[in-house]
């Protein structure tokens, strides 16, 4: 009988549920899932931020002494580092011998390169404070301004201090604002104290790392004159062995 083979509607198999996929059908349930997913996303983003996951990755491992580092403001090739005594003050200073040439066509103040160079001591017990620049061909004379197109063998001399205890909190992003506000306050008592004895910290140090930042020539924010500023971009990191001279 031919009729026996007619297809019947309710025998046809269901392809999919009316909503499709694995999502529940109710609007409320769907809204709850969307809400839950958003909360999860936000919480994980905050957690990653708090753990420092959005900080830029270290560009490259620290390079060897003698590596040439080019920035827009200057090209620097650090060769060696020593702790030595400043003949004028008698205090221990960090002296880095490096080839230095300006990439500008106008002179700029020598200490302006300090903001592009971070000095790190692995022990964390020392801090480089102020930079002065001398040239090996006339080490008695301070260099006030770096002149253009004059490659020099330079002595970068940093005075040393103990890192401020307050600095530590600033690595924690949740405490950063409060910490930076505290740092902006001048500690007048500390200025009047005798310089701390850095002998043990200096004896302990075996190497230093110079982090050299890229820089840009632009107007300042409050003082709108144009000058060199350091950027966050790291041009290079160079690790130098360091010893006490003499």
């Amino acid at each position: 009988m031919a009729l026996h083979f007619l297809p019947v509607a309710h025998h046809a198999p269901h392809a999919q549920g009316p909503g499709g996929g694995f999502l529940p059908e109710g609007r409320l349930a769907r809204a709850l899932i969307a809400l839950g997913a958003s909360v999860l996303l936000i919480v994980s983003a905050v957690a990653i931020w708090a753990a420092g996951g959005f900080e830029p990755a270290d560009a490259a491992p620290a390079a060897q002494p003698g590596t040439r580092v080019e920035t827009r403001q200057f090209t620097l090739t650090p060769h060696e580092a020593v702790f030595t005594e400043d003949p004028d003050t008698g205090l221990t200073v960090l002296q880095v011998r490096a080839d230095l040439v300006s990439n500008d066509t106008k002179p700029y103040y020598a200490d302006s390169i300090d903001q592009s160079i971070e000095v790190e001591f692995p022990s964390g017990k020392l801090e480089a404070t102020m930079l002065t620049v001398k040239y090996t061909r006339h080490p008695e004379g301070l260099v006030s301004q770096i002149q253009p197109d004059m490659p020099e063998e330079a002595l970068l001399v940093w005075s040393l201090g103990k890192p401020d205890e307050k600095d530590k909190d600033c690595d924690d992003p949740l405490a950063r604002l409060e910490c930076e506000r505290e740092q902006a306050e001048i500690d007048w008592d500390a200025i009047l104290e005798d310089p701390p004895d850095l002998g043990p910290a200096v004896a302990e140090e075996r190497e230093i790392t110079l982090t050299i930042h890229q820089n840009v020539y632009q107007p300042g924010f409050t003082d709108q004159s144009e000058r060199w500023f350091a950027e966050d971009d790291v041009a290079a990191k160079i690790t130098l062995p360091v010893s006490e001279e003499g």
């Binding site: 061909r137 301004q145 004059m150 709108q224 004159s225």
Partner: protein, 203 residues
Amino acid sequence: MASPLPRRALTVATCLVLLALIFVAQSLLPGETDDTEPIPFAGEVGTEVDAEQFTVTASEPRVAAAVQDDGGFGSGTPLKPHGVWVVVPARLTAQEAPLGTVEAQLVMGDGYTYSVTSWLFNGLGTGSGPTLSPGIAVGGAFVFEVPKDRLVDPVLQVSARESLDARLSARADIDLGLDKDEIAELTASPEESISIPAAAQIP
């Protein structure tokens, strides 16, 4: 009255033109630095340049293979240059007010600029030396260290002012009048050594 479509097209075109003009006008606005450039007064070697706040007379530039402080607080040891020393003797007189800051730069034809050496105590423009008092001339020398091949069409820019701030200050631009042949001759056979006496008031 025109039909709506051409009118609308005209409005759109006018807006676009005005927007373009705004961008052009914005890009023509001078920045703070350009706005407050020192005010230059041009002159030549050997003649008195009147920069309103001060007058300055520069003498013929000299080129040397060594310079040293002559007396004063300097070390007195001869200093070898990275290139050559360019010494420009000059006499400055304040016109109205005492001028405590004297600065100088040597600006080359290609824009390369050199400031006075900080290694000589006696040089003019190093921060030492007497304050310029109105009407009393001060004589001395500006000393620059310049790579030999960078010495091209040098212009001496002298600024004397009351404050450290150079914005809108008076500046004398003195063409040193050295042509290519003269520079080649001076750098090929520089003077052996020049002693720089301390800047002093000229009675």
